[in-house]
Subunit: 525 residues, 2 copies
């Protein structure tokens, strides 16, 4: 089998994604992660097209210590009517001093005529001249044929001429791009096989996900004879994004026997995918194949009973191969088996205690009918479980009353909360301010407990979600509040359900503090 | 071409998604949207498995007026060692009174032996008996073969026996399920074609997205001879989700010549996809094919000038076919066009007034930056537009101050709001109670305005939604509140954005009352 190139374009095509804006430092950090993942080629940007990309290549020379990957500079063929040797844009590609230069060229006649505004012949000359010049300067050249598939369908002969011209001039790989992303796998298979047959060139594939088939199209091209696959981490990219390289590599390596990256590196896929999303500041997509937070999460009661027997019956791969792990979710669809499994994850053995298990199941179902959803709040579930097991709720403090006032006023902090409670031997009255009712309650509760439980100083509320459950009643509806908290190391989610958003938030806050103190090993004082 | 079934399982398999929890009212609302989209079959849930699904089918009979779709109840084959006629779970399927019953059956020998803990023969008997019984009771029966592809690869003969047994017993469609989602298109093609050849049964396909190929696998099955495709709206589902029915239908209809739904219905795909995500409260995925917010968004660069010449060169389909539209992210061209269009809809001609249009665009952009989205709240947009056109805000009353108090107390009404305002010649101070802060503010505002504007007596608040916009700041995040109101004839949506949920709700309430009075033809008094 020919060695397949894994070519990453996160830093160039991926950065076209709406809302994504990478600094030079971001790009250097991402390149380091990509190298760690084991990709073969990293396309760093378009030197000369903007100052940021020029600087990236300059700094990459001293700051980027690539162990696996080869750096590529991206640019276009020379302008019409000139020579490659005199073209400043082509010179900028050489100045980037990368082993590989990837050129984009037009291969669709209407794009040649209407966007480039030149002739078919001149476009071929631009390709031949630029490739020859760069190869002569010692560069390996890959050529991206923009809009190749659409162009092939419109004028097959011209599209093939483009491939032949690049190949004859010395391009090492000719990459067929589905720039508009509209192709489906059978078309990609057929066209890649035909181009390979007609030209003998080594071919690459570059797909976008506009039909939801970027991964399937990329694989179809490889199986039809391509030997180079382009994509981006997490499928970042313009419109619906590019082919997700994590999924493509995992599919090829774990299911089709390709040997693309060292297995040990693939085991870091989840970690690296998330590390890169920290840099891009794009929230990870929970349903992402292989590395999504939900990718190996099971909710169905039907499955949970069998999951206990043999997890492999319910997983398409061992999640550890990509650094992920199996999780069981608790919900009203789940029966005893999934609650038993969840209990085991949390360290409670419910298997030998059928009555206790039945009590927990009944309690979960009863609460879910009122709008709770435990699969989203492990911490609240654990507190419930603990209560059923021990026969009493864990209480660090006894609340006498609380009150929140929200006012239209000309201050920054528009809300004020007062909490009265008993903690340790003391009765405490504390008031907190905040920009909203929940924020104010959080501050007041902290203030009230600070002296007796100094441990909660490091707790922080990091996410807050509200769901109106039965909106047919307008403002009378039931409200569910989910709160995510952290102590700097672990994070936990708690939940409150009430007719009133403030009451629901209060319940979630109390659970959050209780859970945090319990996990910190603090006894009620 | 055989008529292809478009079978939606959002309400059953889609609801297995992590964090998704649908009330009966949610399920009825989604079913209405699915019917509007034109799907052929709606799987409503598993009657008898939980009280919620039983109630759904009961209420569906009187409350759901389906124009296109047929309702299906989902359940399993009878238990081992009994008879279908005596099985309470099978009886619950009949009690649901749906035209179609979809049965799930094991088709993988290890699942039969280890999960079901019965023999191969008894599993076949369970399938034959249950299908025969349901068909005898006048039901159309579809049979889902769980883990079919894995089972076929392990023991082809047994998998085929399952299909034959169901087919011979009268199952109308035998659905091959890639339950673990690990398949790739070539395997799906090959197996579907072989099963069709061997058994002659009408086949369906049910895919999950664990390899990122759910859409491609679904299409591969249809092209290999299946005539029934299952999926969920927005690809909701366990783990990485199910095949996204929006993408599958758009691909088949717009690119492969299938005639699945009326073109006019497909033009509402974006609207319905988003309407359903409002019910599920799952944030829409911007990169979703066809209907994602970014699906036709272009980030200028290489494309900018050519886009203006001929947008078709840069789009795989006309976005209007699915209700989407092209956006250019750098220029505000698209923004102007849609605002101009929106203005025309509302009776304001902005085309001839470039300065006014520029002012409205700037104002909308400034608000969108703060979290506003004028698409979702026509009434608030119209008030903004009117303000720019007339040069002043429409004011029926001047608010001096307001305040809400929420307390933990033993009363039903936990919140109290006080509003001080000037309306007509009068200064009014009014207090309202409610089960939550918004409800209390609504009551107080009504009370304060009742004498001067008796017209608002018939206004009613019918929906209330909250979204936390930037959840990275915990309770400090920005909050958007959407309110839907009615006067018994028309309904309107207004919006408020603020760091504080109560302030955001207040802004939306004030807009709601203002808009309602304006549309009632009332002049400020």
């Amino acid at each position: 089998m020919t060695t397949v190139h894994v070519y990453d374009t996160t830093l160039r095509d991926g950065a076209q994604q709406e809302g994504l804006n990478l600094s030079v430092a971001d790009k250097l950090a991402i390149a380091g992660h990509l190298d760690e993942l084991g990709v073969g080629y990293i396309e760093g940007g378009w030197p000369g097209a903007n100052p940021k990309d020029t600087e990236f290549f300059r700094r990459a020379r001293s700051e980027l210590d690539l162990r696996n990957a080869v750096l590529a500079a991206f640019g276009s063929t020379r302008r019409a009517g000139g020579t490659a040797a005199d073209d400043p844009q082509v010179q900028a590609l050489l100045d980037a001093e990368t082993p590989v230069v990837t050129l984009v060229a037009k291969s669709h006649v209407r794009h040649v005529e209407q966007a480039l505004r030149t002739t078919r012949e001149e476009n071929l000359a631009m390709i031949g001249d630029t490739v020859t010049h760069l190869v002569g300067q010692g560069r390996r050249v890959f050529l991206d044929c923009e809009h190749f598939f659409d162009g092939y369908q419109l004028d097959r002969d011209y599209a093939l001429d483009v491939v032949r011209t690049a190949h004859d001039a010395g391009a090492e790989v000719v990459v067929l791009c589905d720039t508009n992303g509209g192709m489906l796998p059978p078309q990609v298979s057929e066209i890649v096989a035909a181009v390979r047959e007609e030209t003998g060139a080594d071919l690459g594939i570059h797909c976008h996900n506009d039909t939801g088939c970027a991964v399937a199209n990329s694989m179809a091209a490889l199986e039809a004879g391509a030997m180079h696959v382009q994509g981006t981490i997490n499928g970042y990219g313009e419109r619906t994004g590019n082919a997700d390289l994590v999924t493509v590599v995992a599919n090829l390596q774990l299911k089709r026997g390709y040997d693309l990256v060292e297995p040990e590196r693939l085991r870091h896929a989840l970690h690296l995918s998330h590390a890169i999303s920290e840099v891009t500041n794009v929230v990870p997509y929970g349903r992402q194949p292989y590395v999504g937070a939900s990718a190996f999460a099971h909710k169905a009661g039907l499955h949970a009973s069998a999951l206990k027997v043999d997890p492999d019956l319910y997983q398409h791969i061992d999640p550890a191969l990509v650094g992920n792990s199996m999780r069981t979710l608790v919900s009203d669809m789940a029966g005893r088996a999934s609650i038993e499994l969840k209990g085991r994850e949390l360290g409670y053995d419910l298997a030998g205690q059928p009555e206790l298990l039945a009590r927990v199941v009944a309690s979960v179902k009863e609460r879910e009918l009122r709008g709770w959803t435990f699969d989203a709040a492990d911490a609240s579930f654990e507190l419930l479980l603990r209560q059923e097991v021990t026969g009493e709720a864990l209480r660090y403090f006894d609340v006498e009353s609380w009150r929140v006032i929200v006012e239209a006023a000309h201050r920054d902090d528009a809300a004020e909360a007062t909490v009265k409670l008993h903690a340790g031997e003391k009765r405490v009255v504390a008031t907190g301010e905040g920009n909203g009712p929940v924020n104010a309650l959080d501050h007041a509760l902290r203030e009230a407990l600070a002296e007796v439980y100094p441990e909660l100083e490091k707790f922080e509320l990091i996410d807050f979600r509200v769901r109106i459950l039965d909106s047919s009643h307008g403002t009378d509806a039931t409200t569910r509040v989910l709160i995510e908290s952290t102590d700097g190391e672990r994070t936990w989610e708690t939940m409150g359900v009430a007719p009133n958003i403030v009451q629901a938030a209060w319940a979630a806050l109390v659970d959050s503090f209780t859970y945090g103190l319990m996990k910190a090993g603090v006894d009620p004082r």
